[in-house]
């Protein structure tokens, strides 16, 4: 690491302008590492001393982008708030120096410019960006539970205005070059080929002090944006309105579970009211506090886990390689099939042959892909030409023609074992002998589907979540017979489709469906005890879930839930049995949102459909159960089942279990997943609580053997703690 010191920043002279090339050796991307501040200082000392240098262009020598942020490992390794705050202050010092540098520095940005990278660019005298698709500017710290700690909270609002800056910092949104130019984040956008030349020109002009046209007061009066901005920020009343509104909006969303957005608001406001210096001091202080917060620890843990998963082939043998895929068959043009077709064609850039049993099915599938593409065009993510071209990558058929050269066929037909087995036989008759048959079932055992196959080693489960375009998780299910190359190939395919992929072993309900069931059952038990639906869902949302379990039942379909429930009970017994009476809902013709009749109203009115209590024969008057109990009973039911999955070898690792629950089921990210949650509470404490519940509610809370073992040995699920302490 030490010899990299001299090499990360290199000076190249171009006449009176010096190009400072950043190229962190041995790393695929540029990050700001621990020794950056020192190197930075050395280089700038040199540049300051060199009288012949009159201006500087700061650029990346890497093709992978400008700077993707600070080295997160470094942040994560901080042991105390003070240590973390010092990291922030070091960064601030470097950026202050850059801003105050006597010679103008121009940032030449091509590719991602994120986090600390953007903070560096903000401290430059000017920014020129390439118009490439890869160019993205953003401050994503909030997504990790942090805030921009190198002056970003102060410089961004000053450059582009408070409203735009808050939007960027509170959402972590990344702007493309065009948008960045529009909000004033960059001064010019040019084709990548002339980026350095234009940046050099900029630098020369600045050095020659060519007077730039500065917007005067009168200009500002005619500029509507500037006027709003002034009204909102320059006077205390407007400022209060702006910040109060932002705060109430984010609280409605975060339910107070995420401290970093509030911290960002606070720090920005201090900077505006008390000046840059006070703002920077507040920034580093809050940064230190946030780095040490359990929320940030979990969020950073998730980041590290997903980063590691990007490199995980899905099989343990490193010699196994994924086979190349050019064509994917999709059976079924319903919502799932169409979604899979969409992500395969548009993200994985593969040709898709979409088969349905009739024209109407194919039309639905193609129509869905077209509609999704049109959305992309409307939101300017795609050009019309790209959309038209991508559309042609999905062709429809009602027979098995055109599947012979497909490497993978993914079925998304009706959840019926016999039907799926027939698909296996049909596909194997129509396609090549090494075609992978992947079933997108959410509950049927893959082993049972594979029984129909002449070569069961090529049969696998690819469980997508609906809507496929949006949901980030893909659960891949392997049987005892699934060949490693098949698993690796499907994992690679899933990643290309933009998914976070976990690989689990076959078993009824796999992992996600299985751990969701006890949570939803527990919500049903609470309901049967007379706890009002709003309170059940509300407590869970407050706990950090994106939707409450009762609402989720409506979304998934009450009938579907009942059907899956039966399969799970058949396999696991009463532990996974819902309370009596739930079957009355199905008998009452309630399927949930899809037929407009469920726990909630779908007739244009909001809220719970009160008639549901009558059907269930309960009175929603129970006030004795606390919000805390509601949330923990439901959550622990899930955590306990997750422990069973780990113990039974369904899961490959606690990491996969955490990521699966967060990305597939909306488990609160700041709690880190079922296993991280258990670790932070302590397995022994989880065991205690479960045993207490078992006593009160019966065997469904009987603790998983693995949990008991771990609690007894005083161990933890994760070997490495998510918190850097």
């Amino acid at each position: 690491m030490n010899d990299t010191k001299e090499q990360a920043l290199k000076i190249e002279r171009r006449g009176e302008v010096a190009i400072l090339w950043m190229d962190v050796p041995g790393k695929p991307v540029n990050t700001l590492s621990s020794d950056f501040s020192q190197q930075f200082a050395e280089v700038f000392d040199k540049l300051e001393a060199d009288a012949e240098v009159r201006a500087i262009v700061f650029a990346s020598a890497k093709k992978t982008g400008f700077i993707v942020g600070a080295d997160l490992e470094l942040v994560h390794a901080a042991r105390t708030e003070e240590e973390a705050a010092t990291l922030s202050r070091d960064g601030q010092v470097a950026m202050d120096r850059l801003e105050a540098f006597p010679k103008p520095v121009v940032a030449a940005i091509d590719g991602p410019c994120l986090g600390g990278g953007l903070e560096l660019a903000l401290a430059c005298a000017a920014r020129v960006a390439s118009d490439s698709k890869a160019t993205k500017l953003g401050l994503p710290e909030v997504q990790l539970g942090l805030l921009p700690g190198a002056g970003g909270t102060q410089r961004l609002p000053r450059l582009i205005g408070v409203q735009a800056a808050l939007d960027m910092m509170l959402t972590g949104r990344q702007l493309n070059a065009k948008k960045a130019k529009k909000v004033g984040l960059v001064d010019e956008i040019v084709p990548a080929a002339i980026l350095i030349d234009v940046a050099l020109e900029h630098a020369r002009k600045l050095a020659a002090r060519v007077p730039e046209h500065r917007a005067g007061f009168l200009d500002k009066l005619t500029d509507k944006h500037a006027l709003t901005e002034m009204a909102l920020t320059k006077n205390p009343v407007g400022r209060k309105v702006l910040f109060d509104q932002a705060r109430s909006q984010l609280l409605a969303k975060s339910r107070g579970n995420y401290p970093s957005p509030e911290a960002i608001l606070r720090v920005v406001r201090i900077g505006l009211e008390k000046g840059m210096k006070a703002g920077l001091a507040a920034e580093s202080e809050e940064f230190g506090r946030l780095v040490m917060s359990p929320e940030a620890a979990q969020l950073m843990g998730i980041f590290f886990a997903t980063t590691a998963m990007k490199k995980d082939s899905g099989v343990d043998d490193p010699k196994v390689k994924a086979r190349p895929i050019e064509k994917v068959g999709v059976l079924g043009g319903g919502l799932m099939g169409a979604g899979v077709a969409f992500v395969t064609a548009t993200r994985a850039k593969m040709h898709v042959r979409l088969k349905d049993k009739d024209d109407a099915g194919v039309l639905h599938g193609l129509g869905h892909v077209r509609a999704e593409l049109d959305k992309g065009v409307k939101r300017k993510r795609l050009t019309r030409q790209d959309a038209d071209r991508l559309m042609l990558d999905v062709t429809g058929t009602t027979d098995y023609s055109g599947l012979k050269n497909a490497e993978v066929v993914i079925e998304a037909v009706f959840e019926d074992l016999e039907l799926k087995r027939r698909m296996v036989r049909d596909v194997e008759a129509a396609a090549g002998p090494e075609v992978i048959f992947a079933s997108n079932t959410s509950s049927l055992p893959i082993t049972a589907i594979a029984e129909a196959s002449a070569h069961p080693e090529t049969v696998i489960g690819m469980h997508y979540f609906s809507p496929v375009e949006k949901m980030p998780l893909l659960e891949i299910i392997t049987t005892d017979k699934t060949a490693d190359w098949v698993t690796a190939t499907c994992v690679a395919l899933g990643k290309k489709q933009g998914k976070t992929v976990i690989v689990v072993r076959d078993g009824v309900g796999f992992y996600t469906t299985r751990i969701l069931a006890p949570l939803m059952n527990e919500a049903a038990y609470l309901l049967s005890e007379g706890v009002p639906i709003e309170r059940i869902d509300g407590s869970m949302v407050d706990f950090g879930f994106p939707v409450g379990p009762i609402k989720l039942t409506d979304e998934v379909g009450i009938d579907v839930g009942a059907k899956v429930g039966k399969v799970l009970v058949a396999a696991f017994g009463d532990r996974l049995s819902p309370p009596n009476g739930m079957e009355r809902l199905v008998a009452d013709g309630r399927s949930g949102r899809k037929n407009g009749r469920g726990f909630y109203r779908y007739d244009g009115e909001k809220g719970v459909d009160k008639s549901v209590y009558g059907v269930l024969g309960v009175k929603p008057t129970n006030t004795s159960v606390s919000d805390h109990e509601i949330a923990w009973r439901c959550t622990l039911a899930m955590v306990n089942e997750a422990c069973r999955c780990l113990g039974e070898g369904i899961l490959r690792s606690p990491r996969d279990g955490d990521i699966g629950a967060i990305f597939g089921l909306g488990f609160p990210p700041f709690r880190g997943g079922p296993f991280r949650l258990a670790d932070s509470v302590g397995p022994a404490e989880i065991l205690n609580r479960l045993e207490a519940y078992e006593e009160r509610f019966g065997a469904r809370f009987s603790p998983a053997p693995m949990l008991r073992k771990l609690a007894e040995s005083d161990g933890k699920f994760h070997r490495e703690p998510s918190q850097g302490r």
């Binding site: 190349p324 040709h351 039309l363 042609l392 429809g396 058929t397 055109g402 002998p433």
Partner: protein
């Protein structure tokens, strides 16, 4: 021959497994393929003045490996919101899917369109760029009126015959629903004038001479630039000069519909016509030609009024091919290439000939001039033909063509033969219907005829067939097809 760089090792692996995979492909495939990959010098095709004159070495024949078309739809019906380019892309994409060909094998695309497109003048190249083909495949567009996809097929055949390529795609597409509506000449000149003007006054001046009627859009003119007659008027002229009766024309059109309906009912066309899931909103699909009368009744033909010469004419809408939207495509290879890849071709292009007559005489009468040349080049006679398939622009035109072919006088005086070219057995003529009943998307018809005829020839166990088409401008084409025996 320079091979595309894309064809690197990455595909080689999956290819190897693939060849073993497909049971129907021939075992010879692998070895031949391997030989090719090792850059062995390719046997040079003998240079020929005319294609496939006489008996050529069997491995050098130009094979039609597969053919496909969209259902043909009457103007402004199923493909109302679809362009010719859309149709062309769909059919080429589907052809590749169905043949399961590695698109990297395709070296050239020649495609045609008759109704000009303002937005995509080189339809062939746009098809390459839009239909999942590697972007380094060169492509150009051709136009020879109603013989356009004969022309594209001939161009690919010539490239194969000359040893330039081994594998190419030919075809054509047209939309009569998507015709460019233009502005008047005067408005056109005024707009260009205004854009060149340097002062506001000059800009104003440019529009000075415009009259309100000059602002009206100009519908596409169906008339021949050389004669000022429409296609229908030319056919009407032929009907009169050749004495083709109204009754004979009605008989022929009725026959065309009856045979086409029968062919569809018997499933004979199923494998050569794809289902189109109509792009745009994807609300409808179309499986069959919507021009064909399921139950054609002879009496109904007699009821119609002539449409080109209302007073003395004999040609009606029912005895003319309708304005139609559709697309077709052919996958073509040199015979040994098809063999190496394990394909069993539909058949081969044995010979062809184009001819032209003075359009002011009988504009659609060129096929009888082309046919004897093609037959001579094939070393065959009309009697050797198991099938004859003539493009049906008008019943009167088909009957006029037949009259000439079967006339001793015409044979002697026009073709320099000792007598007539021959007789066309009506049981072998347009046996599955033709353009009158299936429709006629100008550029798509030729490839439709080629595919349809080769498949029927195979079904019948025949060996040779003659296809002809007349085309605007007084042109005509004849092509001799053969299947392996």
């Amino acid at each position: 021959m320079a091979k595309k760089p894309a064809q690197g090792e990455n595909k080689a692996k999956s290819k190897a497994t693939k060849t073993e995979a497909s049971g129907e492909k021939r075992p010879a495939a692998k070895a031949a393929k391997a030989a090719k990959k090792s850059d062995a010098p390719k046997p040079k095709a003998p240079s020929q003045r005319a294609p496939a004159l006489g008996k050529s070495p069997r491995t050098d024949r130009v094979a039609v490996v597969a053919g496909l078309r969209t259902p043909f739809a009457k103007q402004w019906t199923a493909y109302k919101e679809v362009t010719a380019l859309d149709l062309g892309r769909l059919v080429v994409r589907e052809l590749l899917d169905r043949t399961e060909l590695d698109p990297r094998e395709v070296e050239q695309v020649v495609y045609g369109q008759v109704v000009p497109s303002v937005s995509a003048p080189n339809i062939a190249r746009e098809i390459v760029l839009g239909a999942g083909l590697p972007k380094n495949i060169e492509a150009y567009s051709v136009s020879r009126a109603c013989a356009t996809s004969y022309q594209s097929a001939v161009n690919v055949a010539q490239a194969i015959g000359a040893g330039v390529i081994d594998c190419g795609i030919a075809g054509g597409a047209d939309s009569s629903s998507d015709v460019p509506i233009t502005i008047s000449d005067k408005l056109n000149k005024a707009l260009i004038g205004a854009s060149k003007a340097r002062t506001p006054m000059a800009r104003f001046q440019a529009f000075r001479n415009l009259r309100p009627k000059d602002l009206l859009p100009v519908p596409p003119a169906p008339t021949e630039p050389s004669t000022g007659l429409t296609m229908g008027q030319s056919a009407e002229k032929m009907a009169k000069e050749n004495g083709i009766s109204r009754e004979a024309q009605d008989d022929f059109a009725h026959r065309s519909h009856t045979l086409a309906a029968k062919a569809w009912a018997e499933g004979k066309l199923d494998d050569e016509v794809m289902t189109v899931f109509v792009p745009g909103r994807y609300q409808t699909s179309i499986r069959r030609d919507n021009v064909v009368r399921e139950k054609s009744e002879r009496e109904s033909y007699a009821r119609l009024k002539p449409c080109f010469d209302r007073k003395h004419g004999t040609i009606t809408a029912a005895t003319s091919s309708p304005l139609t939207d559709g697309a077709s495509a052919l996958l073509m290879m040199r015979e040994d290439k098809a063999d190496a890849l394990g394909y069993e071709p539909l058949g081969f292009i044995r010979s062809y000939a184009f001819a032209a007559v003075d359009p002011g005489w009988q504009m659609l009468q060129a096929p009888p001039y082309a046919a004897p040349v093609a037959l001579k080049r094939a070393g065959l006679t009309l009697a050797d033909m198991e099938l004859v398939d003539m493009h049906e622009a008008f019943a009167a035109q088909v009957l006029s063509n037949l009259q000439a072919i079967e006339s001793d006088k015409f044979g002697r005086e026009q073709l320099g033969l000792s007598g007539k070219l021959g007789e066309v057995d009506r049981d072998k003529l347009n046996v599955l219907g033709g353009s009158i009943s299936m429709g006629h998307p100008f550029a798509a018809t030729g490839a439709r005829q080629i595919t349809q005829t080769l498949r029927e020839l195979k079904r019948r166990g025949g060996q040779f067939a003659l296809c002809t088409a007349c085309a605007a401008g007084g042109m005509g084409v004849a092509m001799v097809l053969e299947v392996a025996r």
